[in-house]
């Protein structure tokens, strides 16, 4: 296994070089181009075009009489184009929805291709064997000239994306706006469509009809979890596509019976699953941690606030409070409260006095933090009653959630807007930290 590994990655075998170069180029260009298709909700157009080029392949074969890659490319380009045109005409001129048009073009064009394929087979042309490798792809049999065609196509695709990046970005996110800015939207859409058709046509030989669509969709969808910036997404998707290509080629090299295309797709799917779960921020696990962190912050702030309220009630900042005191004012589980108090102690926001029962006292920092939460709460209540004219008895619940969300900047604006008020709608004092509020 290890030997095989080195054998593969040392690239000593020329065949490995061709296959690897071809699939990586495919993964790179399909991945990055796929971002635009996915963002424009045209993910399945790629699938339809991939199927729709079959008649073109057959026609090229009938005309040229053999499997000349250039003729095949021309034929598929033409039919790929035609399929996009038909889809567009049907969507624009009838009540048929986009998805139904995509499905129709896919199946009818493919049916036409199958008819032509069977016609070729029935004429008994010896050279036709391998035409149906087109359906499932056969990366392992890639020849140097295939790789050249491929490399050329990928290079063009990548250059086009780089050069027209700003325009493509505009058109992907807001075609109307792009139009109003004077961008040639029609021509840019034409460009995207052409690049799509070219990439698909070139890629069919490696991964086949069905799986070509996945190389456009999966890396792009996976990259979306890692970033909110388009150019980072495009690059990431390209890298994911290339990674899937390396992994697929390696698997089919180490187990020769295994097909390259499907393993590329499965590798891409694994990358997708990993992104879906583990990408920071947007990934599932990351989101779960964020949620937990948030709820912990809310709980901590609530306990601090309760301690502050207790001090406020009897005006005694030196008195030690027990868990029972807190629970009387705030409904929560005893075990949860104990945990939170421990965390607050670790953060030096409360001091714990051991005993039975344990007693707690706010530290200076803790008091300031608690005062901040209370201040935001009361400012928000005041804003709701004064500015939005909501009744005083309706504002508490809203403030209860807003107090955890409002940032210091917004708090500042609120205080300014309300003229640094002293009392909230329930006549409680609004505690200000430093600097001290103006009197009056």
């Amino acid at each position: 296994m290890i030997d095989l590994f080195f054998e593969f990655f040392s690239l000593a075998d020329p065949n490995v070089r061709y296959v690897l170069a071809g699939t990586i180029l495919l993964g790179l260009s399909a991945g990055s181009l796929g971002c635009f298709a996915v963002l424009r909700e045209r993910a399945l157009v790629g699938d339809a075009v991939a199927h729709a080029v079959l008649p073109g392949v057959c026609l090229a074969f009938i005309v040229a009489g053999d499997k000349n890659p250039y003729w095949l490319l021309m034929g598929s380009l033409f039919f790929g184009w035609l399929s996009m045109l038909v889809m567009d005409i049907v969507i624009r001129n009838s009540k048929i929805s986009p998805d139904a048009s995509i499905g129709m073009v896919l199946s009818v064009f493919f049916g036409l291709g199958v008819v032509m394929l069977t016609y070729i087979q029935s004429t008994g042309n010896v050279n036709q064997s391998g035409l149906d490798a087109f359906l499932f792809g056969n990366a392992a049999s890639m020849l140097p000239e295939d790789v050249y065609v491929f490399g050329f196509v990928s290079l063009i695709v990548l250059i086009c994306i780089a050069v027209a990046y700003k325009e493509l970005k505009m058109v992907s996110f807001d075609p109307q706006f792009a139009k109003s800015l004077g961008y040639p939207v029609k021509r840019l859409e034409f460009l995207i469509a052409t690049l799509l058709v070219v990439t698909i046509t070139a890629g069919l030989q490696a991964v086949g009809v069905v799986l070509m669509a996945s190389m456009l969709i999966i890396p792009a969808a996976a990259a979306r979890y890692w970033t909110d910036t388009l150019h980072v997404m495009v690059i990431t998707a390209g890298v994911f596509g290339a990674l899937a290509a390396v992994s697929g080629s390696w698997i089919s090299y180490s187990a020769p019976a295994m097909p390259t295309g499907p393993w590329m797709v499965v590798s891409a799917a694994i990358i997708f699953a990993a992104s879906f779960l583990f990408a920071p921020k947007r990934g599932e696990v990351g989101q779960w941690f964020m949620k937990r962190k948030n709820s912990r912050k809310v709980n901590e702030e609530n306990v601090l606030k309760t301690l502050y309220h207790l001090e406020e009630a009897d005006g005694n900042q030196g008195r030690i409070r027990t868990e029972k005191d807190v629970l009387k004012r705030r409904n929560m589980k005893e075990s949860t409260l104990r945990n939170i108090l421990k965390k607050l102690e670790a953060k030096k926001l409360v001091t714990c006095y051991q005993g039975s029962p344990n007693g707690y006292l706010l530290t200076e920092n803790g008091r300031q933090e608690a005062a901040r939460v209370v201040r935001v709460h009361r400012l928000w209540e005041l804003y709701l009653t004064e500015r939005l004219e909501i009744k005083g008895d309706h504002v508490h619940d809203d403030a209860e959630s807003m107090e955890h969300v409002i940032t210091p900047e917004i708090e500042e604006r609120l205080a300014e807007l309300l003229g640094h008020p002293v009392l909230d709608p329930h006549k409680s004092r609004i505690p200000y930290g430093n600097p001290k509020p103006k009197e009056g």
């Binding site: 499905g103 969709i217 792009a220």
Partner: protein, 307 residues
């Protein structure tokens, strides 16, 4: 009875069964689900094949049905949890499942006499020779029985739940508010799509199934706004495509399944171009008429100014 008769009958049954459930897919704007399901059932078929070591249809139906529903579920899951667009999540799910299916088949290539190509193209021409022998009686081609059974199920499903399906396809929110179990109806519909797909699959192939599910209903949708008429029309168009497709295939000596798909496309093109109420040419005609009218309306005022 002649072979041609059985082939046409099989094709017509498949077309009718698919048109009935396909109409709702087209109305719900979920037409591509048929493509997704028809590809994603491959691992189900392969696994059923491996487990039972036979080409028995029943386990294959179960396996395919399960993977069909799995596709629907995973697509929904990624759409909701993964915040992906519907088409992206569908594309991810079905291509991955299809790839897994191909891998399983190649892995057990020795044991599995399952041809990827036959799944894609179907082998409707061999239908008349695959007979169902029951108590030493020759009951006729097996595929005809299977498709007939699925067609009966679909007819029962659609006529029994017609009202529910109607409300569900046009206004799911309202359907939910009326107390119609929307999720149940949705999964039942998807279940029958899966069953029709897999039943039709064996004889007509994966891609033709997509054509039969989408194209005749879309054609009927262009021609009428009445759901009942649309269902009947789409069945009729499907059956017509099956018959004419067969003769087209015989004429050019090509694949029957492919020819049927081409014929569905042909009928759609006819409806799209020449439909008297909203067809392509009619619209062009209308536009030029409007232009004329506007010009006509402009003339008198011009004349007035001159005089």
């Amino acid at each position: 009875m002649s072979a041609a008769f059985w082939v046409i009958l099989t094709g017509s049954f498949a077309a009718a069964a698919c048109a009935l459930v396909g109409s709702f897919l087209v109305l719900r704007k979920q037409a591509m689900l048929s493509d997704a399901i028809s590809h994603a059932v491959l691992p189900g078929i392969a696994i059923a094949f491996l487990l039972t070591a036979s080409r028995n249809t029943f386990p294959m139906l179960i396996g395919a049905g399960m993977f069909g529903l799995l596709t629907v579920y995973l697509t929904e899951f990624l759409h909701k949890k993964g915040r992906l667009k519907h088409d992206s999540s569908m594309g991810i799910v079905f291509t991955t499942l299809f790839a897994i299916g191909v891998i399983i088949i190649t892995m057990f290539a020795g044991q599995v006499d399952l041809d990827q190509e036959c799944i894609l193209y179907g082998e409707i021409v061999y239908v008349p020779w695959d007979r169902w022998i029951w108590f030493d009686m020759d009951m006729g081609p097996r595929a005809v029985w299977i498709l007939g059974f699925v067609l009966t199920l679909n007819v029962m499903f659609v006529s029994f739940f017609f009202k529910e399906l109607k409300v569900y396809s046009f206004d799911p929110q309202f359907a939910a508010a009326m107390g119609i179990p929307v999720t149940l109806i949705h999964y039942m519909l998807m279940g029958s799509v899966s069953f029709s797909t897999i039943a039709a699959f064996e004889s007509v192939g994966a891609i033709l199934v997509v054509a039969l599910l989408i194209v005749p209903p879309a054609t009927a949708y262009l021609l009428t706004t009445d759901l009942k008429k649309m269902l009947l029309l789409s069945v009729l168009i499907g059956v017509l495509s099956a018959i004419s497709g067969y003769y087209l295939a015989v004429f050019i000596n090509g694949s029957v399944a492919g020819a049927i798909a081409v014929m569905t496309g042909f009928f759609f093109a006819l409806a799209f171009l020449f439909n008297p109420e909203s067809g392509f040419f009619y619209r062009i005609f209308l536009k030029s008429e409007q232009k004329k009218m506007i010009l006509e309306m402009g003339k008198p005022s011009l004349a007035k100014k001159q005089s």
